[in-house]
């Protein structure tokens, strides 16, 4: 497990070479949503919960970037490293275990969430949409978001044999998370059942935390959102290694 850092260092060296191509889907997409919704739909929506529409949705884009970064890295990225680039085999020939390799993957997903989330934060700050110094805690939220989504993504990747099946995860799990996760409208607008279901949506908790930190609404409920994300990360933590071990070690 300690040697997961060596795996992370390996990934970061590759990242230093490839980060420019990575910016596209991790950063461009949330910014496109922000501009379309914020500047377009925002014209028809006066205020949400006492703030302008673009102020309401902007923090959610940070969480969205965090979710996407870890998700894409630990689905498509991991799959390519296993089957196409055979990176897992080369790493496992070195003195590391499958546990190290998998935690290296998860940490890499979390680090990418922080980095790309911060790029979005920079853009939002430049637009003058940050209202509170509490935003300094944002990297923690992004790291936690990345951890949860990286763990989930690795579990799913361990279960599929064909790269096309990863689309199911994106369309059936990730897309509903961001459509109903309180990014574009407050979740209390949803029917009661959907509101209840949102409690198992990690992005919802991440969005609430990001919004509170950006706007300075530091209500006591925030601890609960953070606690739930930590709980999710802890609960999911044994499964990525267990499932991947079955796949990689014959």
């Amino acid at each position: 497990m300690m040697k997961a850092m060596r795996v992370l260092v390996r990934h970061m060296r590759v990242f230093m070479k490839t980060w420019k191509h990575n910016l596209m889907y991790n950063v461009a997409e949330p910014l496109l949503y922000l501009s379309a919704m914020g500047f377009g739909l925002g014209l028809f929506v006066q205020e949400v919960n006492g703030v302008s529409y673009i102020e309401f949705i902007a923090p959610g884009m940070i969480a969205l970037s965090g979710m996407y970064s870890a998700t894409f890295e630990c689905t498509y990225g991991t799959f390519v490293r296993i089957y196409y680039e055979k990176t897992f085999h080369s790493m496992l020939a070195a003195p590391v275990t499958i546990t190290d390799v998998i935690w290296g993957e998860i940490l890499y997903g979390a680090v990418k969430s922080i980095l790309f989330g911060l790029v979005i934060l920079g853009v939002i700050a430049a637009l003058g949409l940050i209202k509170s110094p509490a935003v300094i805690l944002l990297p923690l939220v992004l790291g936690l978001t990345g951890l949860v989504f990286a763990e989930l993504a690795i579990c799913f990747t361990a279960l599929v044999k064909n790269i096309d099946y990863l689309n199911y995860y994106i369309t059936l799990i990730i897309t509903p998370f961001f459509l109903f996760g309180g990014l574009y409208f407050p979740v209390d607008a949803l029917p009661p059942l959907a509101q209840t279901l949102n409690w198992v949506n990690p992005l919802y908790h991440s969005v609430e935390l990001c919004r509170a930190l950006c706007l300075g609404n530091l209500a006591p409920g925030l601890g609960m959102h953070a606690g739930i994300l930590i709980g999710m990360a802890a609960l999911a933590s044994p499964f990525p290694v267990k499932l991947m071990e079955r796949k990689i070690i014959s």
């Binding site: 060596r6 060296r13 590759v14 990176t87 790493m91 020939a93 070195a94 003195p95 590391v96 014959s250």
Partner: protein, 307 residues
């Protein structure tokens, strides 16, 4: 320590398929030990057990004096692995590939760079250090993978089909490097389905077929033990040969081996058999007389030709 690897009755099943069926062998320190066999004979499964990608479910595998179900990092730290397929980091340059891999062994960036440069020199890749891996030819990639396997000064290097897909010149270069490594005292374990590679490099080898070891020894020993010294290849379709041809060869003291549509004759006195071919209705210009080789041992024991 005399034996670097001792395998006792290794067995492995993948569902209903039995990949290894009681494989025992031992590899001495400093030798080049080979696994010769078809694809699917069980060579790669055995290699994967050694370098920790497959668990030892049946039998005992002892590496550097220790037995484990799955080879642990401490043992992998003494080993280098050249896998069947090149799995280099395509985003990185030649030098960066080695440096980054060194990091997985816990080398600092500086240590890794020094070692990487030594190895690029050794493998004749120094002028390619800054090149992107994708731009390398198959032979150069292979040499880089071998260089990478040496980053940790391994005592044992496991090479899974090190020259498959290389042109003859690139293959000879790889062989030269492997000989140089062996001269430095590194133990080499290699799998191949090239008879020539096995004959050129291996001090001892085992011949594997359908998860079993059929024979073991040095290449000359194996030929001597299993084959008469002379071989005649009959390069005519089997159906076009006289019906009683095989009987005549046998009556004259020769052995007949049919592999698919090809026919091989073996004899202690090959010349005597050769001189009679025309009289038996088989034109000599369609035949070829030569000394028996490892390939003949392979044909005889597996009942199939090499691929």
């Amino acid at each position: 320590m005399d034996n670097v690897i001792i395998a006792e009755s290794l067995g492995k099943c993948f569902g209903a398929f039995r990949a290894l069926n009681g494989v025992s062998f031992s590899v001495r320190a400093g030798e080049c030990f080979g696994f010769l066999g078809h694809n699917g004979a069980g060579k790669s499964t055995t290699m994967k057990m050694i370098y920790g990608l497959s668990t030892v479910d049946e039998g005992i595998l002892t590496l550097f004096g220790q037995s484990h179900r799955l080879t642990p990092p401490a043992i992998k730290a003494q080993m280098g692995v050249v896998p069947q397929e090149d799995n280099l980091d395509t985003e990185l340059t030649v030098l960066e590939n080695l440096e980054t891999y060194g990091g997985l062994f816990g080398l600092s960036r500086r240590e890794a760079r020094v070692r990487a440069q030594e190895l690029l020199d050794f493998m004749g890749l120094s002028n390619k250090a800054a090149d992107n891996v994708e731009s390398l030819s198959g032979g150069l990639k292979r040499r880089l993978v071998i260089a990478r396997s040496l980053m940790n000064h391994p005592q044992l290097v496991v090479l899974d089909e090190p020259t498959t897909g290389l042109d003859p010149q690139a293959r000879h270069l790889v062989w030269q490097k492997l000989r140089a490594l062996k001269a430095e005292g590194v133990t080499l374990l290699l799998t191949t389905h090239y008879m020539e590679e096995a004959s050129q490099l291996c001090d001892r080898l085992v011949l594997m077929h359908e998860g079993l070891i059929l024979a073991e020894g040095s290449p000359p020993e194996l030929v001597k033990k299993h084959m008469p010294p002379c071989a005649i290849e009959v390069r005519l379709p089997f159906d076009s040969l006289p019906q009683d041809f095989a009987d005549k060869v046998t009556a004259a003291g020769g052995e007949v081996l049919r592999v698919a549509d090809a026919l091989f004759l073996y004899a202690v006195d090959g010349k005597k058999l050769w001189d009679q071919l025309d009289a038996w209705g088989v034109p000599r210009h369609a035949c070829f007389l030569r000394a028996a080789t490892l390939e003949d041992v392979f044909l005889k024991l597996t009942g199939r030709g090499p691929e």
